[in-house]
């Protein structure tokens, strides 16, 4: 066994002593660590000294009972000295940290767990939190989204007053039978470039465009669409969406916190990628709610499928409105799902 060159510090002054460490036997024939240098000849039983973990090629430290210590870059030499003096578990971390196979395994586990947490964990937590928060929270987030839309997109409804009235009556009849829907209200607007559509806005507002009303061939189709939007509101989708987005950014910023400044840009990208998936989940939940409502009222699911189909055909190209009713690639799938639900 070769000797280990080290620096010895007594803990009282920063003066460095060049020493050599070796294993030997003390007076009572116990194994001891010997520290020898110019004017120094010390020895401690192995049971009384503590050795720092090996972390890469960073310096290794041996701590002695009197507060003095040794520092060395000869990590392998220290390991050799300690053979038989420390449990094998003490070297486990270093083995994991130095093997390429372990690194790949750790990378795979980290990636899978992080992905699962973002895709399932965060939405589940956001759901719990959203339902635990008071209903007013959504108003704080949404603020004046309707007046903003009124300013930039919508114009007042041009439907005949009696038609508007009958729609409001229809809506009132619907919400009377739905628990917790009494605080929601229906707003009719001309959608203009948005075309036939309906939205659930924060603070319990449902907006339906004239174009959608004109597109419908049966009031039960409108009922299906409104039930879908009430589903969004009942499931707190807006609040959950905001919570999920914030939590994802927070998680990414936390994980990469070391370099927070330069990853602030990077953290936005995965969030954007996930948004499509999040909103598809929400569409499904709202569809399920609408389906449950339609079954109760004896409305055939075909009604919803038919209006979805017509909206898809009429959809103006290149709109980027906050669209809760239909996500392009998923519409066909949703229609199939409704039709299959007979």
């Amino acid at each position: 066994m070769s000797d280990v060159r080290a620096l010895y510090f007594d803990g009282k002054s920063s003066h460095a002593h060049d020493v050599v460490l070796s294993a030997g036997f003390g007076a009572d024939s116990k194994r001891v660590l010997q520290v020898r240098g110019a004017g120094l000849n010390l020895s401690w039983p192995f049971t009384q000294l503590r050795v720092s973990d090996r972390i890469g090629t960073s310096r290794r430290y041996l701590y002695f009972p009197d507060g003095s210590q040794c520092e060395t870059d000869d990590n392998a030499g220290v390991d050799d000295l300690l053979i038989g003096e420390e449990p094998a578990a003490a070297r486990l971390l270093h083995r994991w940290e130095s093997g390429l196979g372990y690194a790949f395994a750790a990378l795979a586990i980290t990636a899978v767990v992080a992905w699962a947490f973002v895709v399932w964990g965060i939405p589940a937590i956001a759901k719990q939190v959203a339902f635990a928060l008071p209903a007013e929270t959504e108003k704080l987030i949404g603020g004046d989204s309707l007046s903003a839309l009124d300013r930039f997109v919508f114009t007042p409804s041009k439907l005949p007053p009696e038609r508007q009235e009958s729609l409001h009556r229809l809506y009132a009849r619907m919400t009377a039978g739905i628990d917790g829907a009494s605080g929601y209200r229906l707003e009719l607007r001309r959608g203009n470039r948005i075309g036939p559509n309906a939205f659930a806005l924060p603070a319990g507002i449902i907006v339906m465009t004239d174009e959608l009303v004109e597109l419908s061939k049966d009031d039960r189709e409108i009922e299906a669409v409104l039930a879908h939007e009430i589903g969004h509101l009942r499931q707190r989708h807006i609040l959950r969406h905001v919570l999920q987005d914030s939590a994802t950014v927070l998680l990414i910023a936390f994980t990469f916190g070391d370099l927070a400044s330069l990853t602030s840009l990077a953290s936005a990208a995965p969030t954007l990628l996930l948004q499509a998936r999040f909103s598809r989940e929400f569409e499904r939940e709202a569809d399920d709610f609408a389906f449950g409502y339609m079954v109760r009222r004896g409305i055939p699911p075909e009604m919803f499928a038919a209006i979805l189909q017509r909206i898809e055909e009429k959809r103006p190209r290149g709109t980027d409105a906050p669209d809760y009713l239909s996500s392009h690639p998923a519409t066909r799938e949703r229609i199939e799902r409704m039709r299959g639900a007979h």
Binding site: S13, S58, L100, T110, L259, T263
Partner: protein, 326 residues
């Protein structure tokens, strides 16, 4: 600044990106599978790796923070945040009162954090220390929270200066004290230069129609960081009299820009996989461009006896200092 004939000793950094990648990913993974509990141990290993790879005159720095103390600190912080957010739901007045209590506890928390970090950093088996009082920290916070808003930001360089001064003047290595000799005037001159550079950043962003905003922003922050870092290090001394140690900092705007631009590009293109590489090259650049100069060498420092403090402040300080906008 005046230069004596004494030899300069630069810090040396021996960390390697490939090696650190393996340490980083394994510890990150262990932190995740233990639901964050292991992260306290991971943090200590990470700090020990960086400290133990930073050499001054042939011997390394050492981090001796206790992971259990860090874990306890984290639990206290998480509990405090949870109690605060729950109480806010019950009644806003309770939330407000708790918020006030947290603000008032801030000087204590920051003091403990600085003490914990200093006392757990050693070199040659001699500890660093921080002796700043809660009142001094409260004073610096008052400048930030009251004076800066009242003067519409004009006091910001003064805040920046005082923050540095209180930190350095109260720091020690063994029985030697650090001394900060820059003036508030120095900081105002530096802030003026950075402000002019900011105008250049705005002009450049407009001229390039916003395309150049990100690289120009990195350039601007590199300039600001290099300017203030050189100012601070060159006006810091350790010890007094003929044995005093002076510091030199050779970070340049171009150097930091290349560093950060490369980091951003690498980390973004690999979805974070190059974070360890970025951390290593950042440490190498910054550490190897700081050097010490002393007439007498570095031996002969005596360790000052200090009492122990818990780790609560370290974690609270870390979390509270974590300010990203949402």
């Amino acid at each position: 600044m005046e230069r004596t004939g004494a030899p300069e000793v630069a810090l040396q950094f021996t960390g390697k990106a490939g090696e650190y990648f393996k340490i980083w990913i394994v510890n990150l993974c262990l932190g995740i599978v233990t639901l964050g509990i292991y992260s306290a141990w991971a943090k200590v290993r990470r700090k020990r790796y960086f400290y133990g790879s930073t050499l001054l005159d042939g011997s390394a720095f050492e981090y001796i923070g206790n992971p259990v103390a860090i874990l306890k600190g984290r639990l206290i912080v998480v509990t405090a945040v949870a109690i605060y957010s729950l109480s806010k739901q019950v009644h806003y007045a309770i939330g407000l009162a708790l918020f006030a209590a947290i603000v008032l506890a801030l000087p204590w928390v920051i003091q403990r954090a600085l003490q914990f970090n200093a006392r757990n950093s050693t070199h040659r088996n001699i500890r660093f220390g921080f002796r700043g009082s809660k009142m001094q920290i409260f004073g610096v916070l008052a400048i930030a929270g009251l004076l800066v808003p009242v003067t519409l930001g004009f006091a910001y360089p003064f805040y920046f200066y005082m923050k540095r001064k209180v930190f350095i003047d109260n720091s020690n290595y063994g029985d030697r004290r650090f001394v900060f000799s820059a003036t508030a005037g120095n900081y105002y001159v530096a802030a003026l230069k950075v402000s002019l550079a900011f105008l250049g950043f705005v002009a450049g962003t407009v001229v390039t129609l916003g395309i150049g905003a990100l690289p120009l922003y990195i350039l601007l922050s590199s300039y600001a960081e290099a300017t203030f870092a050189r100012l601070a290090w060159r006006n810091t001394t350790l010890g007094a009299g003929s044995g005093e140690i002076r510091f030199e900092c050779r970070w340049t705007t171009g150097g930091l820009f290349g560093l950060y631009f490369g980091n951003a590009l690498g980390v973004l293109c690999t979805l974070g996989l190059l974070i360890p590489w970025a951390a290593i090259r950042t440490a190498r650049y910054k550490l190897e461009r700081i050097s010490l100069q002393s007439e007498q060498g570095l031996g002969g420092f005596l360790a000052a006896v200090q009492e122990d403090v818990g780790a609560v402040g370290d974690e609270a300080g870390e979390l509270l200092g974590f300010d990203f906008g949402l």
